[in-house]
Amino acid sequence: MRNIFIWTVIAAILFALPNLLSFSQQEVLVFLTINILVVASYRLLTLTGEWSLGHVVIMGVGAYASAMLTKSSGLYVPLGIVMGGVVAGLTALALSYPLFRMKGFYFLIGSFAAGEIIRLLWKRFREPFGGTKGIKGIDPMPDFSVGFYDFDFFEPTSYFYFSAIVVAICLWILWRIEKSPIGLTFQAVHWQDKLAQASGVNLRAYRTLAFVIASGFAGIAGALLAHYIGTINPNSFDVEVMVFVLTWAIVGGTSTFYGPILGCVVLTILNEVVLRELGLEQTRPLIYGLILILSILFMPNGLESIVQKFTRQKERRSLRPEEAK
């Protein structure tokens, strides 16, 4: 009952939120919503202990796939977005064969190389990927009405509502997976792969599963992005964006579900409110690098550790009366 109430309040706030923002802030809100799905899906992969540098490129695979499918075959955009996720997941499945011969640091480097190869293919082949110029004039989301609300996708507000619903569904699925025996097995693979395997866990299969699921949701995020901005090119998914994703995840912390999301939200707000106001937009990579180093040095457990401190204190306080009995 209490949960339903909390979620209703959150939904109401999210519904009202765009009306309090300027046009450009509304656009940022759409990007933030999409980026939340990018970091949250990234966390699923990190559950198995593997860190990829190819996540953003895989997101791009989803973007390209959905853009191309809707353009060439006139596929309905929402279906194109789903297909973006499917193609990204299948790409990850294919990549898993070479990549999961490696672990840890080697996987990290391997995933980076694989991502760069995909980007090279986009650049090299003007047919069908559009070369360095990428794909322009991607079909926008077609307008529709649900009775009480008319989705007009010329407005960022409408696209925000649409993407928020898609992202919420994806987050729910990611959350269900993490809290399930599958999620526990991912963690087992991370912390003691030998013991997990001795318990009958097929390590390779579970690493691949996490990689494919994470990539599938990254692909959906990429497709959401493509149909919003209308044009994508290989540089939309370069390593600079990957560094942002890593920074959100590390600054937020990856030991909880909400950690990376928190990092993404806080740094985006910081970026918009502070950097843009000060006219320091251009130095964003530099400042992100600095934040990354400082947070590793002074906040190794991420922003989530600060939240946990407060919630634990509250728990302890609420426990005390019982102890007194």
Binding site: Q187, A188, L195, S199, N202
Partner: protein, 255 residues
């Protein structure tokens, strides 16, 4: 009749070193079989080959007559051979209950779609019941919510066995389960092992605690420097000149 487990001419070479050299022994179903030998004799290496952690350089591992040598560890486990590790190898960051739940992976195989939509309530309840049963059996029911890394050494060894037990094994390979336990804990654990055995679980045991080995085992294989040395019941092994020589010789080596 075929034995439950048999190793045939099992050999493991690391570069120039032959850690296990044409080793042969059989483990009969429903028995507790000891594998002993001085430090560095090759006991853990033998376990690693049986459990699929290493691929033997030569020789066979026959499980109910089927050669399982070289299969990946999870495939060996799925055939009913589950091992523990010499050093407390646990999921230290997870709770005790979660550790045991990982142990139920084989009897209650997770399913992605069922997990997302919540259609796996029965499996989850079954897994939890099995995990709690394993913890209760090994006296860990009260510490289920603690992190495995925070347990005492003796409790950690017990949890390692509980994780293995939770998976319904046919045969467990226990590598020095009594290290870090005080005499009382050891005695208690010996009782539990006898109970496991009478429940039909076959045990292959590596242990340096001779009292425990002699008190538990139906059959003992002794090896030294990778080679088979002697085999027999506790009384035979205790008085076997080659065994005494190996242990004393080992001691002289150390001195």
């Amino acid at each position: 009749m075929t034995s439950l487990l048999e190793v045939k001419d099992l050999t493991m070479r690391f570069g120039g070193l032959t850690a296990v050299d044409t080793l042969n022994f059989k483990v009969e179903k429903g028995t507790i079989h000891g594998l002993i030998g001085p430090n560095g004799a090759g006991k853990t290496t033998t376990f690693n080959m049986i459990s699929g952690f290493y691929t033997p350089s030569a020789g066979e591992v026959l499980l109910r007559g089927e050669n399982i040598a070289g299969l990946p560890m999870h495939e060996v486990a799925r055939r009913g051979v589950v091992r523990t590790f010499q050093h407390s190898t646990l999921f230290a960051e997870l709770t005790v209950l979660e550790n045991a739940l990982v142990g139920t992976h084989m009897p209650f195989r997770p399913n992605l779609f069922a997990a997302i939509f919540g259609w796996d309530k029965d499996a989850r309840n079954g897994a939890e019941a099995r995990a709690r049963e394993a913890l209760t059996f090994f006296g860990l029911a009260d510490v289920g919510h603690e992190h495995a890394g925070d347990l005492s050494h003796g409790h950690q060894r017990a949890l390692g066995m509980a994780v293995a037990y939770a998976s319904h094994p046919d045969i467990v390979l226990l590598d020095e389960p009594f290290t870090g336990m005080n005499p009382e804990e050891t005695k208690h654990m010996m009782g539990l092992m006898k109970q496991l055995c009478s429940d039909g679980i076959t045990i292959l045991l590596v242990e340096h605690d001779m009292q425990a080995i002699m008190g538990l085992c139906d059959n003992i294989t002794c090896m030294s420097f990778g080679k088979f040395l002697a085999e027999g019941g506790p009384a035979e092994i205790r008085n076997h000149p080659a065994v005494i020589e190996a242990y004393l010789g080992g001691a002289r080596h150390v001195a």
